[in-house]
């Protein structure tokens, strides 16, 4: 039971947007879809939803082509929010829910329940354009889930929300997870992905760079992170020459370095002692997703100049 993307390719005019992308999302999991701006996240999501079709490759849900899957099984939260600005909240949501196959009565019932949960019942009869941005986002979220879809595709669901509203949405998110929905969401906030996702994929320029469970991804990196603090030698310039060690940043409180998986961390301690250092802190930790993301993507994914070299 899973959503499977197999070797999809997609080009727009001369630009190859997606190159041989494969991934698998297990049913009932939260799947993080990470990548820089212009990496192809939205394009891939549209292909999963069959709004766009891949030039080659296929997308299947439980072995069935997504084209065959009834529309009401899908819930889509587009990246750029889209609602009728002059339509009332309840009319808008009922229209979309019914268009997605719900009966009028069922739609009304769901609507009342969810408006309550999101504490926006008072806005029921207001027009969308009269709502605050946070409330608009909530309504947009409701538009995605009201028809009780099996698979939720959410493009940047948390962007532009204040912490309080982000938390309300995160709760709803986890509620959908508890109900057994399969959730795919893209984000820039990697802490969020780390917190919510079982599996992730990082894509760059339309290609998968890293994927798997969050733990696997971290382990795949084949290295760990060490943090060292020497009271008498804050720079510890000798670290730069140590084999198997790569200093990533020198902070006021510690020096952070990547160490190769096969390197015994004791080597660092020994070297520090040899250099007469007084160790006040030494710890081993896993790399954060942010580290991995920046390492895999950051070096060349400048958001403003992505497409010049993308030509096929």
């Amino acid at each position: 039971m899973s959503l499977t993307v197999e070797h999809i390719n997609k080009s727009f005019a001369q630009v190859k947007a997606i190159k041989d992308l494969s991934m698998e999302v297990q049913e009932g999991t939260i799947f993080g879809f990470l990548g820089a701006n212009g990496a192809g996240k939205t394009t891939t999501m549209r292909m999963i939803l069959d709004i766009l079709r891949p030039d080659s490759g296929r997308v299947t849900w439980n072995g069935k082509d997504v084209r065959e899957v009834p529309r009401r099984n899908w819930g889509y939260l587009p990246e750029e929010r889209g609602l009728y600005p002059k339509m009332r909240v309840d009319e808008q949501l009922l229209f979309l829910a019914r268009l997605n196959g719900l009966s009028k009565q069922a739609a009304e019932k769901e609507l009342t329940e969810w408006l309550d949960r999101f504490q926006i019942s008072a806005n029921r009869k207001k027009k969308i354009e009269e709502l605050s941005k946070g409330n608009q986002q909530k309504v947009q979220f409701l538009a995605t889930i009201l028809h009780d879809p099996t698979i939720l595709i959410m493009d940047e669901p948390f962007s532009g929300l204040d912490p309080v509203n982000a938390n309300v949405l995160k709760e709803a998110f986890l509620e959908m997870h508890r109900r057994g929905k399969t959730i795919i969401f893209s984000t820039h906030q990697l802490e969020q992905a780390e917190e919510l996702c079982q599996d992730i994929v990082i894509i760059n320029k339309g290609q998968s760079v890293v994927q798997g469970s969050v733990r696997e991804v971290k382990r795949q990196q084949g290295r760990n992170v060490a943090r060292l603090k020497l009271d008498n030698d804050p720079e510890a310039s000798w670290l730069d020459t140590l084999a198997g060690v790569q200093v990533t940043r020198r902070r006021e409180d510690y020096i952070e370095m990547h160490i190769q998986a096969n390197l015994n961390p004791n080597v660092i301690v020994e070297a520090a002692l040899q250099h007469g250092g007084i160790i006040s802190r030494f710890e081993l930790t896993e790399p954060s997703l942010t580290d991995i993301f920046i390492e895999q993507v950051g070096a060349f994914a400048l958001p403003d100049a992505p497409s010049a070299e993308l030509s096929a």
Binding site: S11, I51, R53, P78, E80, L83
Partner: protein
């Protein structure tokens, strides 16, 4: 990528997923599953579009303004007549006093002269309609002239006509009137009178007998034979009504199609710029969205037009009692236009109007889906606007010859059919099969245009980049 590969590779069914399939950028939405709910979805979309439109403040305000304008416009002929009737009490007569300084005119006695003048002014029957004659005639001796002139000046008397003779014995007339307008409605009547009197007087002085004079003045024996069948079956009032209706109908079609199809185009662009489209495409197919939008907005616009027509006809029907109250006998010339044309004409007009709306709305919607922002709509719908306008211009070229071959041929071209058939129905002859054929042609064109529009739509709605050229468009439309 080469253009050739696109054209050929994309004919392959998507299900085969041939690895080297062409690189296309066609946006497509779910087929099978969503299509099952086509009718249900279209109904939902129609409902939303209709309700959204008729509850929109701008729509309501425009409707009210139009209703008021139509209502007032219906009173224009009556008001015109009221103005024409002058400041005098409309039911009263025009008083005319004749002062005869010319002596014997045409050898007639005073009584005979009075009878001749009265007949010429008020028509041959004297009382052609119920009620008093339009002119009340009296004679005055010439010593009262100064007094009478004063009466005309002060408005107590409408017209003073003085007859005398020039040195060569020709008759001369002096016409005093209260009417300051340049288009004095009484002037032509009085002119006719003076011509008649001069004719009789001159004939008498030339020594002709009254019988010879009558013979000379007899109306020519001219028989008008109208060979066109249609004219023979049409009464005068029907022809007049046909002309008014042909013009009104064509102008109505031209303006309302422009406006209503424009509303459809704006609706599409709105949905696209608000990114509503992405949500909708997940729930419905492009065809359902397009059909629902066109029918929904069309229904809203028809509602508006229906209100206008009901108010307009109601106001026109009001004119008959109103005019008879104001002018007594001069009633109801305009409502005769309405009743002079049969019900089938109105039904056909409605049908052609609807067909024109669907045809142009589909084109407008398809093309509008290509724009990024609403401001760009005008530039993409240039082509249908040109088609519509050319029909409008053609109408004025062929309106004088409704039964000419060129008119017939042009009226078969679906983009122009509604306007030109309207005109032919109102003014010319149309065989029943011509109506059937033109409607069939229009339906076929509507199908083709809707298909074309749905193609553009499914491609256009998700294309936020640059606008494609015409060649690229045609290529896209051919893709599967």
């Amino acid at each position: 990528m080469s253009k050739k590969t696109v054209a050929t590779r994309d004919r392959e069914t998507p299900a085969q997923n041939v690895p080297e399939q062409g690189q296309t950028s066609v946006a497509v939405s779910a087929g099978g599953a969503a299509a099952q709910n086509t009718l249900r979805n279209i109904r939902l979309i129609i409902g939303r579009e209709y309700k959204n439109r008729v509850t929109q403040r701008s729509f309501i305000i425009t409707s009210v303004i139009l209703l008021v304008l139509v209502f007032l416009a219906a009173f224009i002929p009556t008001i015109g007549q009221l103005i024409k009737a002058g400041p005098t009490s409309p039911t009263s007569q025009t008083h005319i006093v004749v002062v005869n300084d010319a002596g014997s005119v045409a050898g007639l006695t005073d009584t005979q002269l009075a009878a001749t003048i009265g007949t010429t002014l008020n028509g041959t029957t004297g009382t052609q309609t119920a009620g008093p004659p339009a002119f009340a005639l009296s004679f005055s001796p010439s010593h009262a002239l100064a007094d009478l002139q004063q009466q005309v000046k002060s408005g107590q008397l409408d017209i003073l006509l003085v007859l005398d003779r020039a040195p060569n014995q020709d008759m001369r007339f002096t016409y005093y009137t209260t009417n300051s307008s340049t288009n004095d409605p009484n002037l032509s009547t009085v002119q006719a009178l003076t011509q008649e009197l001069i004719f009789l007087d001159t004939a008498h002085r030339l020594g002709l007998t009254s019988q010879e004079t009558q013979h000379l003045g007899a109306a020519p024996d001219l028989i008008v034979v109208q060979t066109q069948h249609s004219q023979a079956t049409r009464s005068q009032s029907e022809s007049a009504a046909g002309f008014v209706l042909a013009f009104a109908g064509v102008i109505l079609i031209f303006i309302s199609i422009q406006i209503y199809a424009g509303i459809v185009a704006t609706g599409v662009a709105e949905e696209k710029s608000s990114r509503m489209m992405e949500l909708l495409l997940n729930a419905a197919t492009p065809f359902q969205l397009l059909a629902g939008k066109i029918v929904g907005i069309g229904a809203a616009c028809l509602t508006q037009m229906g209100c206008l027509v009901v108010v307009g006809i109601g106001a026109l029907l009001l004119q008959t009692p109103l005019q008879s109250a104001l002018f007594g006998t001069h009633a109801g010339s305009f409502s005769q236009y309405l009743t002079g044309v049969s019900i089938p004409f109105y039904l056909l007009f409605l049908l052609y109007f609807l067909l024109a709306f669907f045809l142009y709305a589909a084109l407008y919607a398809g093309l509008a889906s290509l724009v990024k922002r609403q401001e760009e709509i005008q530039s993409v719908i240039m082509l249908p606007i040109l088609l519509l306008s050319s029909g409008y211009v053609l109408f004025f070229f062929v309106v004088a010859t409704p039964d000419a071959t060129v008119t017939k041929v042009l009226s078969y071209i679906p983009f122009w059919t509604p306007m030109l058939m309207m005109m032919r129905l109102a003014l010319g002859t149309v065989a029943w099969w011509e109506i059937v054929v033109t409607i069939a042609l229009m339906l076929l064109t509507i199908l083709a245009c809707t298909w074309f529009a749905a193609r553009l739509y499914r491609y256009g709605v998700l294309m936020y980049g640059q606008r494609p050229g015409l060649g690229q468009l045609l290529k896209l439309v051919r893709m599967n």
